[in-house]
Amino acid sequence: MAVWKRDDPPGHHPAEPAPAAPRPTPASTSTPTAPEPPRRSGDRATIGPSIFIKGDLTGDEDLVIEGRVEGKVDLKQNNVTVGRNGKVKADVFGRVVSIEGEVDGNVFAQEQAVLRQSGAIRGNITAPRVVLEDGSRFKGTIDMEPKERHLAGAPAPVPSRIAAPATEPGTAAEVPAGLIRSAQAG
């Protein structure tokens, strides 16, 4: 059983032979069976649904996790996707981190963190841009520091418009707190 499987479409043959063993080899793994040496695909590697990895994952290619990972996923320069079947109990570092499955841990994205509709995170997200799709489940903290603003040292934005309290009759009315009861009674 292979820990890593190719995402290449059938019939696709890379121009160059794949290197023997890429860096993302887990520092320590605990899998149901002894894994074959991880294979590198042109685009990304995948941890299959039946695989359980315990330990740290590092590397320099994109990764899709459909299995279970406990420990740490550290691919700061690459994209990390936790697929629908993926269950990760670890801090996840990536360039763009996309969650479709479950993450119990913190997510650190250099560019963007995306929590898909099917996804769930119990932990904190740190990213310049965070996208939460409706229906997704999230409990934790989101730390949003726009990278460009941070780098440029620009001040915080001023809202485009601060509306004054409405005074038009029939639309709404500002009622002094103490008068609410009588307003209701009326």
Binding site: R137, K139, A166, I180
Partner: protein, 220 residues
């Protein structure tokens, strides 16, 4: 017909618009409604005033709100109290232990803005006082608390999902999740002053669709 205006209690009794399968399932068929908000400009004004503000959202994680708040580079804490309460069993009143466990940000955290939405409608008075106690501890003096309360006799059985409008800072999108109703608490401002010790009603706005918006300030 607007589902908000169909709610009973604020005038002549009207039947809620429930149609076909929705009536059987209790799932709302009506789409989101957009209503003018008189309190939101103050919320955005608070967000614009500072940098790296700590914002506590006591509602569910909603993508549009997160995206909107990201414009202000704040640190957003999302703690869906209603969902946590439901997990604990909504039938019984929750005690101090629940709130101590529920709202336990890292030591030293001081919130600048709290978005409570319509959560207060779904807490009993004792729970509201316990929540206020926790909020008081973790809000810095002058912090703003935004909440909505219904003056209707009945309210949706589940909290409404509120979203900031894409463009307008004085518009709020209401999405009702169920047509099933339950009795509303019908809080009045004087009661809030008593229950939310440490917070003061700064402004309140009674909107024509029977929702009252509140801006509370954490006292110094």
């Amino acid at each position: 017909m607007s589902w908000l205006s169909a709610l009973r209690g604020a005038g002549p009794r009207k039947d809620t618009a429930v149609r076909g399968s929705a009536a059987r399932s209790g799932v709302a068929e009506e789409g989101p409604e957009i209503h003018r908000s008189l309190a939101l400009p103050a919320v955005f004004s608070t967000l614009a005033r500072g940098h790296r503000l700590n914002v506590l959202d006591l509602g569910p994680a909603i993508g549009g709100n997160v995206e909107r708040l990201s414009e202000f580079s704040c640190k957003l804490y999302i703690e869906d109290l209603y969902a946590s309460r439901s997990q604990e069993g909504a039938a019984r009143s929750l005690g101090p232990d629940f709130f101590a466990q529920f709202l336990a940000p890292p030591e030293g955290t001081q919130f600048d803005l709290v978005l409570a939405w319509d959560l207060f409608n779904y807490l009993d008075r004792k729970e509201l006082a316990l929540l206020a106690e926790r909020l008081r501890r973790f809000c810095r003096p002058g912090a703003l608390l935004f909440a909505l309360s219904s003056i209707h006799k009945t309210i949706p059985a589940q909290p409404i999902r509120f979203r900031f409008h894409d463009r307008d800072e004085d518009q709020l999108v209401y999405e009702r999740l169920t047509l099933v109703e339950r009795p509303g608490p019908r809080f009045v401002p004087a009661e809030f002053n008593d229950l939310l010790r440490g917070f003061q009603v700064d402004r309140s706005f009674l909107l024509r669709h029977g929702i009252q918006e509140y801006l509370f300030l954490r006292e110094g």
